[in-house]
Amino acid sequence: GKTRLNLINQLKALVGRGPIDQDAIEEIEMVLLQADVGIDATERIIQALQKRMREEVLPPEEAVKYLKQQMRQMLTIGDPTFAPQRDRLNVWLIVGVNGAGKTTTIGKIAHVAQGSGYKCLIAAADTFRAAAVEQLKVWGERAGVEVIANPGQNTDPAAVVFDAVMAAQARGTELLLVDTAGRLQNKKNLMEELAKIRRIIDKKAPEATVEALLVLDATQGQNGLRQAQVFAEAAKLSGVILTKLDSTAKGGIALAITQQMHLPIRFIGAGEGLEDLRPFSSYEFVEALLSEY
């Protein structure tokens, strides 16, 4: 393949010390496309850069600085600090397509929350996938958090959520994490099932602070935006968790999602271990996206 270079050096190779030109713009476009930013978001970013270029000549350093600023701005939505509220019930509903990393992420969040002194509980509402409950129980054990599950196979996930909300209220739980089965957003019945779960939470725990978080695999391409759009409606999404950022994929579709959906990215997953969860940093994300390619 192509030699891996940092973007500034690549641009300097094209234009030297002079202002960036059309070739340089194409180089930047290529980097964004290869990071899964997608054509629409890429064009928007490039247009902003070109507009800026018309105002003033931009040498590579300046252009890249402006680019990074633009992208960070696109990724910054609302208050960057994010944590469950103390002394009251928080319900975090974790949703996403199949295999995105929901169950693993719940294990990681439970671990962090438990370590920060929150009273936690996990609901095993994936009653469909083979050994999903067993998998979640292993994560519960690792984090030291109890898992509420229904022993039967193919039971109603909404019933599990109902039981878990009751248990959380009775015990004074502060954070209830709800694992759900993976589902593709074009499956009407499965999305309706998810909407029902959300309704039960809203109805049975009106006092709770509810967050619905979409788990998005960073290796996903343009379909990620569609996922965010449809899940937003069914689950009333309030944020995104980007997993598998330890891969070589850049997760550029997150830019399209934050821009079009105004959903903040809350955490990133960067590994399969209990400790591999971090708060989202737009700075680190943008640096990594443009670092080497």
Partner: protein, 305 residues
């Protein structure tokens, strides 16, 4: 399902309408739209570049067919080139001259390996074969349970040794298949990143030990640009013999199919079309091309001409 894509191509083709010849200038715009559409479908950028050049050459070199407009002709050229890249026909699963045929499943985390093991086992049994599955993922919590549960669902045995060395599990699993007179043995493995050198080395040891007849890369159809890197790395390390594209029951356009084939030269053999164990279909390049382009109807029109 593929509205945006077909609209874009439609737009490209409209620009050719009313013109009676494909030329360097009138094709420019159309090619740009095809490029856009393919990128939107998650075909890898480098693969798109190569593909566009091939289409350009094919289009300029094409004879004018009487009674067919250049726009329709252009569609057919794009489609035919896509089919050509993805392989002309369905390639069946390997069959060893002396059983058991050994199949190794590999891929990124969560791509669908374990589920596909069970789907493939069921598929083979429906063909009158006797398969055995081997639980070689000792890392993911409850991975062995997952495969065993699937095995019970379809009444196909699962060999496991608990959490010991995956190489040893593979070796003994194949031995067990031989002793039980199985036709096929399907090895499940843990998901891994291609940049995880230790985990990749483990797969190489499994390969060296059991010498599989078929090494299938299992890829999530929703994957983005990464498909090319992934395929290249797994192919360089393991020499994959084919791929399985999962989760095509979604609304992704599945441009990864093109990247996988172009990068490895190996065929896609099956597609996963659901979570249930029955949801496995053979891969047909022409259907996939039509899916990527969303242009079944127009094609049959050109075929008639």
């Amino acid at each position: 399902m593929f509205d945006a894509l077909s609209e874009k191509l439609e737009l490209a083709w409209k620009k050719l309408r009313g013109q009676d010849k494909i030329t360097e200038t009138n094709i420019q715009e159309a090619l740009r739209e095809v490029r856009r559409a393919l990128l939107d479908a998650d075909v890898n950028l480098q693969v798109v570049k190569r593909f566009i050049e091939e289409v350009r050459e094919a289009a300029l070199g094409s004879e004018v067919i009487m009674g067919v407009n250049p726009d329709q002709q252009f569609i057919k050229i794009v489609h035919d080139e896509l089919v050509k890249v993805m392989g002309d026909a369905n390639v069946p699963i390997a069959q060893a001259s002396t059983p058991p045929t050994i199949i190794l499943m590999a891929g990124l985390q969560g791509s669908g390996k374990t589920t596909t093991c069970a789907k493939l086992a069921l598929y083979l049994r429906k063909q009158g074969k006797k398969p055995l599955m081997v639980a070689g993922d000792i890392y993911r919590p409850a991975a062995i349970d997952q495969l065993k549960t699937l095995g019970q669902q379809i009444q196909i045995p699962v060999f496991d040794l608990g959490k010991t060395d995956p190489v040893e599990i593979a070796r003994q699993g194949v031995e067990a298949a031989r002793q039980q007179g199985c036709d096929y043995v399907i090895l499940d493995t843990a998901g891994r990143l291609q940049i995880d050198l230790e985990m990749m080395a483990e797969l190489e040891r499994v390969k060296a030990t059991v010498q599989p007849h078929e090494i299938l890369l299992v890829v999530d159809a929703m994957i983005g640009q990464e498909a090319a890197n992934l395929t290249q790395a797994f192919h360089e390390r393991l020499g994959i013999t084919g791929a399985i594209l999962t989760k095509l029951d979604g609304d992704t356009r599945g441009g990864a199919a093109l990247s996988i084939r172009q990068v490895s030269g190996q065929p896609i053999k099956f597609i996963g079309v659901g979570e249930k164990v029955e949801a496995l279909d053979p891969f047909y390049p022409d259907r996939m091309a039509s899916r990527i382009l969303g242009m079944g109807d127009i094609l049959s029109l050109v075929e008639k001409a």
